[in-house]
């Protein structure tokens, strides 16, 4: 395995909701147009330090995501670089039409953060799970949709988002591996990162599932299955060039995402395969179902989204 720093028994996690404020301070230092827009989400969302550092560039609008989202659009219209943060289901679902009309349709550079996306809030129940955020946003032209796999991805996304022309959605996970990307690595929205080469099989994953997929590849390798692993941190626009290479070279593609298998990373990959053929695909994610409730890692395991379960699923598929 290329990355020999990973210890699958004792993984080093990071909580993006804890470090977000400190990173945003660094971004804000580089560009005085940066403003934070919260919907009763700055403390749990990790922006306490940012509020202290930039009280005049901190806007809090209460439990009113539709307004916060429209307000962010207005700020961007007037030249600001808003970072709008709320719990993922509320920053994407509750204000979907504001994203659609006021941000995506206009093409304004608003950065939308999905706090505790996926099932980060595993115990919080179905209203706080967000496994359809890619699905709704992917339908909007001009959106950039990104799911960071580790600290370096998240940091690069925050710095890079304000250099893009249009709207950006970034997931802000609570429990994600601290480091999985190679060192050094080059980050660019829309460009996947190869973590491991392989033959006859490529696992394309995003966000938290990059680590789990890497773990799965480690298990599979012991069983004689040599899977490539790609960190496809940008779901839209998809790195079709890199994907095309793996379709051609491996003929078997597995996609893994902490998201419904409908209209997320797996569907984006399917769309490419449908155009060109050349590969069969296994989509791993939530199978058009509501997630169960419980501690995060246990919910992941229940739904087959941990390394060993992913490996088992792939092994069965390879045999089948």
């Amino acid at each position: 395995m290329e990355n020999d720093t990973l210890d699958f028994d004792n993984p080093q996690w990071v909580d993006f909701t804890k470090i977000f404020g400190d990173l945003l301070i660094e971004v804000a230092k580089t560009d005085d147009r940066v403003v934070f827009v919260g919907a009763d989400s700055y403390r749990g969302g990790g922006a306490i330090s940012y509020r202290k550092a930039f009280p005049d560039r901190f806007i809090e609008l209460g439990v009113a995501e539709q307004n916060a989202c429209g307000h962010a659009a207005g700020l961007a219209f007037a030249g600001k670089k808003p970072f709008f943060s709320a719990i993922a289901n509320f920053s994407t679902g509750r204000c979907f039409e504001q994203i659609r009309n006021d941000i995506a349709r206009t093409g304004l550079n608003v950065v939308i953060l999905g706090r505790a996306a996926g099932i980060s809030y595993g115990t919080a129940g179905p209203t706080h799970h967000s496994i359809d955020d890619f699905a709704v946003l992917r339908a909007l032209p001009g959106m950039t949709i990104a799911d960071p796999a580790d600290y370096s991805d998240f940091k690069n996304m925050l710095f890079g988002a304000i250099k893009l022309a249009g709207p950006v959605y970034i997931r802000k996970h609570k429990q994600v591996i601290k480091k999985i990307n190679p060192d050094p690595y080059s980050f660019k929205f829309g460009k996947g990162v190869i973590l491991k080469q392989g033959s006859g099989l490529a696992i394309i994953a995003c966000g938290t599932m990059v680590y789990q997929s890497y773990w799965a590849a480690y298990i599979l390798k012991k069983k004689g299955i040599d899977a490539a692993v790609v960190n496809m941190h940008t779901i839209k626009p998809l790195d079709t060039e890199l994907l095309g290479n793996f379709i051609e070279s491996s003929g078997r593609i597995v996609t893994v995402e902490e998201h419904t298998i409908i209209n997320g990373l797996g569907s984006a990959v399917s769309d490419e395969i449908a155009k060109k053929g050349g590969a069969i695909q296994l989509k791993i994610g939530f199978n058009d179902e509501w997630p169960t409730d419980g501690p995060y890692l246990e919910v992941l395991d229940w739904h087959g989204l941990t390394g060993p379960k992913i490996a088992e699923r792939i092994e069965q598929w390879m045999k089948g």
Binding site: V35, D56, R57, I59, L61, G62, A64, Q66, N67, A68, C69, G70, H71, A72, A73, G74, L75, A76, F77, A78, G79, K80, E97, Q98, N101, D102, R105, T106
Partner: protein, 286 residues
Amino acid sequence: MLSDKETIDLLEKSYNNRITLLNVLKKCGDAHLGGASSAMDILTVLYNKILKHDPANPKWEGRDIFILSAGHKAVALYVVLQSVGYFEKEILWTYNALNTKIPMHPDEKLLSGIEFPTGSLGHGLSVAAGIANAYRMDKKDNRVIALLGDGEAAEGAVWEAALGAAKYGLDNLTIIIDVNGLQSENYTSDILPVAPFEPKYLSFGWAVRTIDGHDIKQIYNALSEAPYEPKKPTCIIANTVKAKGVDFAENSPEYHHWAPPSDKMADDAIECMKKCYVMEVDKIGK
């Protein structure tokens, strides 16, 4: 203060705009007659006397920003923008046509003078407040003005935005609510009673004035004297008549949209409008 002459001049512009509006309907078919005509005096005063803007330089940084939150009144805005020089009159006759620059709801990518795409109700105040908040942060003195409908007030996001604008003391923000008492399907009092507006906005922390939305002097004074209180956004409640000037259509739920069934009906409406203009001129100075 406007002199009587200036008032009559604006009134004439406004009724010429209404006649142009009816000609758009005559040539192009269905449009939102009711709301367009109820808002016409307000829009005419805004673009002729209140807003800092430059049709030759629509993106001028010093301009005030106007957001038509009630986007379905766009046909009135198109007529007004054309009348002050934003584009050639021929474009008006493309309303409802394939690839028009003036769709039923405004599109900022198609036409200079349109600041923001609206049409889904309840968005405009949030956006306007965001713009006003950015100007406040940057200590710019550009005003932000938004026009809302009374039926639109059923959208909860309007009230979210009203609270947020008050929190940030956006006295560079003015909204005008075109209270014509009707909405798409029927009277607002029947669909969802939202009146009275004044106590609601007062309790939300706004400075409020209620006017006759067809009285040119009241419109001008209300808009030019804002803000009424420092650190408070301004709400102007403009009581209006839906389909103002077309007597057979006024205050009727049947004329939210209208496609004149014949040229004669359109011409009859234009004649009504001319008579209404004479009556309105008679009121001035009295």
